[in-house]
Structure formats: structure tokens, C-alpha cells
């Protein structure tokens, strides 16, 4: 048995990644007859529709223009006609405005999509191209990519980290992307390095994905390229979280994470940006890990944005047994989707049908002061005393505990032997002190 004297506890939730890797290739999902494409798929403002019912669209046709700074364009994911614009289920917001497209089953690409002749863009051109391609952070309900890139403007960026850590259980979409598209990733890295004039670009891979590490290194060797630094990071949760990853890879980095001298991009986002620049291809499809014990054939699917959860799950031969909870994203920080007609959006890394035995309600007991939640917290705050202060209404003492540092990883709730809702308490406290 490993004996550590340290008071930091590394959390390893059971990975459960093998399920979706039994089909170790990306499969194309069947295009459903109707796609519901929400106008708001990220943190920020919704886009404004530029089509009306009856219009003919193609895969990649822009159907909504960005409105406001924190907004990106939205594109049709397949060819067909616009059926209606209205309120529809949304995986994160519950309900939201969406454009419904009836597929003509031909999936004709828009003529505007095609190789770009001159990829030697200026920084401004690059930003607007990224925005026009509708690219947002592709892990969860993300931030528009151009906003992240904009923070680099006029600065001396230190590094960009391509995040392939994927420390959440169940998720394998980044893993599959790295296994299949490693040349594109190297190309994306090269592109980033050139256009952002970066001194350093890294690809971070979790320790549980040594085969990826091997593949990347051997590819880099045979390309005789050495600009991409491949870093192996520990695979405990939440190592894939941005600020923690930056701290791990650049231990000396003391800059403001918000000020953006260092940027972290998901593998999926980086590839989407590359495709947007190279092929003018907007973000209208993505890899989704459709998995969970309740599915007979978990897979990684290439899914059109707007495909409903039900349709995506049908590609995996439906339900083996009925799940209580279907999640968008991983089980540690994902969101529970109540209405399975909600569509896949740009940030849907995974659709996880949790088995009923994991979602059984368990008794919540009083805190036994075991201190596990503190030891599991990656940002060194004290969820135990924060929760105590919230529950007793002792808000004055809260500030000293810095609840705003919480990265919402959920470790504190995960480890609590009394099943207490620590994350929710810390979020309550965090809500009291907006940064």
C-alpha cells in the first residue's frame, strides 16, 4: 500500500473510460431528420437568426449572426430547409430559442466551405475568422474562443497549452481525437505558434494515456519537429482544469490567469479552429462520447450540432436499461439533462447515461469533521468550514476562506463520507462574493 504523509489527497474517481473505447474509432452518427440548433450555446449573448422558415440551407450555412461581443455565429449542420424558429429544450438552460432544420438527407456542404488560399492571417483577421466560424470552448458551456484569444492582444503570450488531459470519468472524445488526428493536432499547434508568435506550445496528456504520448512523440520524431512540447501530467481529477493545468505545466507562472498570458485550449477546440482557418469550415459537428452503463454500445460519434440526445443515443442501439440521469459532460462537473429531446451543442463532450445504482439517493448525514473535503480540494480552500458558515448564516467570516477560488470541480462533494452537498454550499458562498 502506498503510504503518503502529505495532507493533499489525490482524487481518482473510477475512470470507466474503457466502455467507449471498445469501439476505438470515431463513427459518423446518422443524420436525424430534424435538427434543433440553439442560438445560445455558450456563456454570453445569443446570436440573431438571419434565416426564416422555408429558407434553404446547406451544411455550414450561417443561420445566425453574432450579436454583441460575447456572441458567435451559428451555422446549419446539414442541408435542408428551415422549419421554424422558436422555444425548444436546451441541455443547459432548460429551454432556449432554437432554429429547427429539416434535413434533406443529402448533407450538401455550403459552397462557402472550402480550402482557404491564404492562411497567413493577421491577428484581427484570425479573430474574426474564429468568431465567424462560431467557435466556443468545447468542454461544457464554454466561453467563445475569440474572447479568449482577444486577451492575448498587445501582450506577449507566454504559452498555449493544448489540453488533452481529460481527467473526468467516462470521457474519451479527446483521447480518440488524439489517436486519430494527431497530424492535424501538430498542424494546429504549428499554426497557433506562428499566428500568436508563441515562445512555447505544449500538449498536455494525462498519465493514463501513455499510448497517445507514444504516438505523438513518434510522429513528432518522424516529422523531425521539436516545437511542440509534449507534457505528461498526473491523471487525478481535476488535472484537466485550466488554472490547475497552467500551474502544473508552468510552475513558476505567477501572472494573472484572467489576463491571458497563457491560454488553454481543448484538443477539440484547437482542431475546430484549425478547420475554420484551413477549410473555412464552421463548427457544426463535433465528437461526442456517448457512453454509460445503460447503453449497449458506447461509442465516440461524430455528431451534427442540433442532433437530439435521443437521436444520438439511438446510434448506440438505444438503452439497455432505463437510466435515471442522462448527463451532458462527465459525471463530476457535467449537467443533468432532464429532457432528452435537448440537442447536442458545441460544448457537449459526452452524453453519459448513468446507471441507476450510481444515482440512488443516499442519506445526508451531519459533518463528522473528517477533513477529507479539505484534503481533496485542489485550490486549498476549506469547504468544510465554508459550508458550516453558510449553514449557520455566519456570512461575515466567509470572506477569509476565499470561496471565490473554488474551481467547481466537485471533489469536496465526491469525497465526503457524509454525502454532504459541499459543492453547492461553496457555490452559495461564492455567489455572495463575486470576484
Amino acid at each position: 500500500m502506498e503510504f503518503r504523509i502529505s495532507n493533499q489527497m489525490l482524487v481518482f474517481p473510477s475512470p470507466r473510460k474503457e466502455m467507449s473505447l471498445l469501439n476505438p474509432k470515431i463513427k459518423k452518427a446518422k443524420i436525424p431528420s430534424v435538427l434543433t440548433i440553439p442560438l445560445l450555446q455558450h456563456r454570453g449573448q445569443a446570436a440573431v437568426p438571419v434565416v426564416k422558415p422555408g429558407d434553404r440551407v446547406f451544411a455550414g450555412t450561417k443561420i445566425a449572426e453574432p450579436a454583441g461581443a460575447a456572441s458567435v455565429a451559428v451555422h446549419a449542420s446539414t442541408s435542408g430547409t428551415v422549419k421554424e424558429i422558436g422555444e425548444f429544450p436546451h441541455p443547459v438552460l432548460g429551454r432556449g430559442t432554437a432554429i429547427v432544420i429539416e434535413s434533406d438527407e443529402k448533407d450538401t456542404p455550403d459552397p462557402a466551405v472550402g480550402p482557404r488560399e491564404n492562411t497567413d492571417l493577421s491577428f484581427e483577421e484570425f479573430l474574426s475568422a474564429v468568431r465567424d466560424a462560431g467557435i466556443t470552448g468545447m468542454a461544457g458551456f464554454g466561453v467563445p474562443a475569440h474572447l479568449r484569444l482577444e486577451t492575448l492582444k498587445g501582450k506577449n503570450p507566454q504559452a498555449v497549452i493544448l489540453n488533452g488531459v481529460e481527467s473526468e470519468p467516462y470521457l474519451t472524445s479527446d483521447y480518440i481525437l488524439m489517436m486519430e488526428n494527431i497530424l492535424e493536432i501538430v498542424e494546429a499547434a504549428k499554426f497557433f505558434k506562428r499566428i500568436l508568435r508563441l515562445p512555447k506550445i505544449c500538449l498536455a496528456v494525462g498519465e493514463d494515456k501513455l499510448e497517445v504520448l507514444e504516438i505523438v512523440r513518434s510522429k513528432l520524431f518522424s516529422l523531425s519537429e521539436d516545437f511542440l512540447e509534449v507534457v505528461c501530467v498526473p491523471a487525478h481529477y481535476p488535472q484537466g482544469e485550466e488554472s490547475l493545468l497552467i500551474r502544473k505545466i508552468l510552475p513558476g507562472f505567477r501572472g494573472d490567469l484572467q489576463a491571458g498570458e497563457v491560454l488553454v485550449f481543448n484538443i477539440a477546440t484547437a482542431l475546430a479552429i484549425l478547420e475554420a482557418i484551413k477549410f473555412r469550415k464552421p463548427l457544426y459537428e463535433r465528437i461526442v462520447t456517448v457512453t454509460g452503463e445503460c447503453l449497449p454500445e458506447p461509442k465516440n460519434l461524430l455528431v451534427k450540432i442540433g442532433t437530439s440526445f435521443n437521436d444520438a443515443i439511438r446510434n448506440c442501439k438505444g438503452f439497455l436499461r432505463k437510466p435515471d440521469r442522462v448527463l451532458m459532460g462527465g459525471p463530476m462537473s457535467g449537467v443533468c439533462v432532464e429532457d432528452w429531446n435537448a440537442p447536442v451543442i458545441k460544448g457537449t463532450q459526452a452524453i453519459v447515461a448513468l446507471p441507476p445504482e450510481d444515482t440512488k439517493p443516499r442519506k445526508v448525514l451531519p459533518c463528522i469533521r473528517c477533513g477529507l473535503c479539505l484534503q481533496a480540494c485542489p485550490v486549498w480552500i476549506n469547504p468544510c468550514l465554508i459550508a458550516l458558515a453558510v449553514e449557520t448564516g455566519n456570512f461575515d467570516s466567509l470572506k477569509a476562506f476565499h470561496p471565490e477560488r473554488c474551481v467547481e470541480c466537485g471533489n469536496c462533494s465526491y469525497v465526503c463520507p457524509s454525502m454532504r452537498p459541499m459543492l453547492q454550499r461553496v457555490l452559495e458562498a461564492k455567489g455572495l462574493f463575486p470576484i
Binding site: 443533468c336 443516499r362 477533513g371 468544510c384 463520507p417
Partner: protein
């Protein structure tokens, strides 16, 4: 009874539970109990069972009286009972055992609102209440044994004994079980021992007698490490254990008895919540920075 809201992240929860942790903590006490039963025979078994029954009955009666359900940590009550019994000297009257068990649960745990809310270690609180009751003074035994030597590490049968410290080897074994399985704060026992050792040396006392004859070792592994009555931050726990160790030796200077550790720890229990707020450099767990 409140249940987890399964519609909120995280959707996975640890397979562990508070009840399971109590059970596993109890398993760490088994070697000590076995050693005690080896030396004292039936008598020890009777005392342990009597204490356990008394604690469990008190707890279930209390949960009938008050509306709240306390019967969720049965094994923690059994541990409390055994931890109390381990402090008692052999030949103690059966009434002392029963009353101690009742006092431990009532005054140690229930008046604060159950497990986790208790300010004092329930077994120690029960013992202290027992010791001040008229007629039960003899639960405290003098442990001034200057002539001890290393041969008594495995089995002691001399005077000044309690059920708990017949075998230091058993204590070490059970304690290390707890520590290696991380069922107790990993550093606390060693900090307590180190601090006690240093103070004992500084005061020119017989180190051997402090460790071997006294119940220092027993306290280090099973009483100092109690979660609920100790601070929750790691720095708080360090200061707590160090101060408790030093205080134990100081009290031993005045009264070399089995009660020194008890009072030292009860004193530290009372200030434990304050120790959570000692500011530390890197982390903001203690408040500050």
C-alpha cells in the same frame, strides 16, 4: 431524513461512508482489545461488552426521546464504549463501566447534537464525568513506574495498568492499521508522540516510563486522532496534537496518573475550533491570506 440531490453535480460519490469509516476505525481497536482479553480474560470481555451495551442503549433511548435519528453510527458508539473501557483499570466496579458509558454518550455526544457536533471526545468526557462522581475516584490509577524496562513492550502485567495499555505492541499494530489506511489524521499520532517525547526530555523525565508505562501511546493513536473533537485543518491538527502532547507531560509532572492525558486532551478539545483559524502560508483553508 435528507437525501442527496442526484440532480446536482457531482453525480458520482465516494463508495465510502461515515458508517463504514466508523466500522473500520473500530477494527483498529481489535488488537488492543485482544491483548487485553489475553491478559485479563473474561473480565475484559465483560467490561467491553458492558460498556458497549450501555452506550448503545443510551443512544437508542436518546433517539427515542428526541425526534432526530441518531442510530446511524452504531459502530462509532461501540468505539466510544471501548475507548472508555480501555481507560479503566482492571477490577473496576461494573457500575463504573455502565455509568461511564451513559455519561460518555450523554455528556460527550448527545447534548452537543450527535456525532460530529461534539466538542469533546465522548469517551474522555465520560471518563472525566465518572472521575468526579463520588465513589468512583478509583477509576484513575497512578502510573508512576520509574523502574520500567523495554521488556514490557509486548505484555505488561504490573500495577498501574488499565485495560488499554497491556500491550504496547498491540497498540502500535492497531494504530498503524488506522494510519496506513488513512482512517485517522496521518500526522497527528506522531506529532503527539514527538511533542510528548521532547517535553519529557526537556523536563528531565524518564522517557521510557512516559512511553511504556503511561498511556501516551494509546492516546496518540486512538484519542488524539478523533475527528470530531480535533481541528479539521491540517495545520490546526498539527498544533492540536503538539500542544496536547506537551500538556500531557506537564500534567504528568504534577500527577503521574492515567488522567493526565485525559485532561490534557479535553482542554485541547475545548480550544480546537480556534486552532482551525491559525493562518498558514500557502493555503486559505484556515482563513486569512
Amino acid at each position: 431524513m435528507i437525501f442527496t440531490d442526484t440532480g446536482q453535480p457531482p453525480f458520482l460519490r465516494t463508495p465510502d461512508s461515515a458508517a463504514r469509516m466508523s466500522r473500520r476505525f473500530f477494527s483498529g481497536l481489535l488488537p488492543v482489545m485482544a491483548a487485553s482479553a489475553w491478559v485479563f480474560g473474561w473480565e475484559a470481555v465483560q467490561v467491553f461488552s458492558l460498556a458497549a451495551v450501555s452506550c448503545l442503549l443510551t443512544e437508542s433511548l436518546w433517539s427515542r426521546v428526541s425526534e432526530k435519528s441518531f442510530r446511524i453510527h452504531e459502530w462509532s458508539s461501540v468505539s466510544t464504549a471501548v475507548l472508555l473501557a480501555l481507560l479503566l483499570p482492571p477490577g473496576v466496579s461494573r457500575w463504573a463501566v455502565v455509568l461511564g458509558g451513559v455519561a460518555a454518550i450523554l455528556f460527550g455526544k448527545m447534548i452537543f447534537g450527535g456525532l460530529g457536533q461534539n466538542v469533546f471526545n465522548p469517551s474522555l468526557a465520560g471518563f472525566a464525568v465518572l472521575a468526579v462522581m463520588p465513589g468512583f475516584e478509583n477509576v484513575i490509577v497512578s502510573q508512576n513506574t520509574a523502574g520500567m524496562d523495554w521488556s514490557s513492550v509486548f505484555l505488561e502485567t504490573g500495577t498501574g495498568l488499565t485495560y488499554g495499555d497491556v500491550s504496547k505492541a498491540a497498540i502500535l499494530f492497531g494504530g498503524m492499521l488506522l494510519v496506513t489506511r488513512r482512517l485517522v489524521p496521518v500526522r497527528s499520532p506522531f506529532v503527539y508522540l514527538a511533542s510528548a517525547g521532547i517535553f519529557s526530555g526537556l523536563l528531565g523525565r524518564n522517557l521510557l516510563s512516559d512511553f511504556i508505562a503511561g498511556n501516551t501511546l494509546l492516546f496518540a493513536f486512538f484519542y488524539v486522532t478523533d475527528f470530531a473533537s480535533a481541528p479539521v485543518t491540517s495545520r490546526g491538527r498539527l498544533v492540536f496534537s503538539a500542544a496536547a502532547g506537551a500538556l500531557t507531560i506537564l500534567l504528568r509532572v504534577y500527577d503521574d496518573s492515567s488522567a493526565a492525558g485525559v485532561y490534557a486532551l479535553l482542554l485541547m478539545n475545548a480550544v480546537a475550533p480556534l486552532l482551525d483559524r491559525i493562518p498558514s502560508g500557502r493555503s486559505s483553508r484556515n482563513g486569512g491570506k
